[in-house]
Point group: C2
Chain length 120, copies 2
DNA sequence: TACAATACTGACATTTTTGTCACTAAAGAC
DNA sequence: GTCTTTAGTGACAAAAATGTCAGTATTGTA
């Protein structure tokens, strides 16, 4: 199987997937949408205070380009733009939840080992 | 919940997880181990020809530091070193498979749309 | 005419990640 | 002493990702 996408060639769905969701903040952004949808830019900013606006917008554009999220502009003043997951975007939920689950497992393990080696 | 790990602070297991498996080749490396284990460096290189050796070793070191994989050196000449997933590393399987599954879905979608819009 | 609030964009700096090249280590065989 | 093979390391270059800052667009209201 060979996949051509945006001038690049991928030999597995996995590699294609990684190229799409591999961005620094992509999974975190998608996680926001799984919790609440739709979301305005300003709302995502509140949920992800560590991401600066410029970066956030860039990642949103990429996700939009890849059809993971949709963007809807309301013709009002002040401007209002709503983002939400597309159908294929919503299918990323198992990816995000499995990452969360593993992270929780890993952090439990850290705690256990910390207690084991702690000195008082 | 606050997690301190390697001089950094994480507020969710997800963020901790992303910091550990977020490296450029980490998921691909873990995927190799899910397919076959243990693996020698030279074997991983064959499976991931796009990763140069220096990079591969660096990613392996990071995974080892994070206790995702173990490294066993056989005291022989020429040197023989075997890597394999640790217990917590093996728990990454659902993460990897969900990414693969989603990628396959996405690539199916691409194909469908290509056919729809193709001209002959 | 100036101001408001939201959602941007452009140019550039900085940081991080990745890649390259040349080199080392190990110890038995010759 | 030199060669072999596998698995590395160090120093540096290049590229990519990310961050910063200042600025634009919109149009109803004061």
């Amino acid at each position: 199987m060979v996949i051509h996408y945006k001038d690049k060639t991928f030999f597995t769905g996995k590699d294609l997937a990684l190229s799409i969701i591999g961005g620094r903040w992509k999974i975190s952004i998608i996680w926001c949408f799984i919790q609440q949808s739709p979301l305005r830019l300003s709302e995502i900013q509140k949920k992800l205070p560590d991401v600066n606006q410029r970066m956030l917008i860039r990642q949103l554009r990429e996700l939009e380009d890849d059809k993971i999220i949709t963007r809807f502009v309301y013709p009002v003043v002040p401007p209002k733009v709503e983002y939400q997951l597309s159908e294929i975007g919503r299918l990323l939920e198992p990816v995000v939840t499995s990452i969360c689950d593993w992270g929780d497992n890993f952090s439990d393990l850290l705690e256990k080992n910390d207690n084991k080696t702690s000195v008082d």
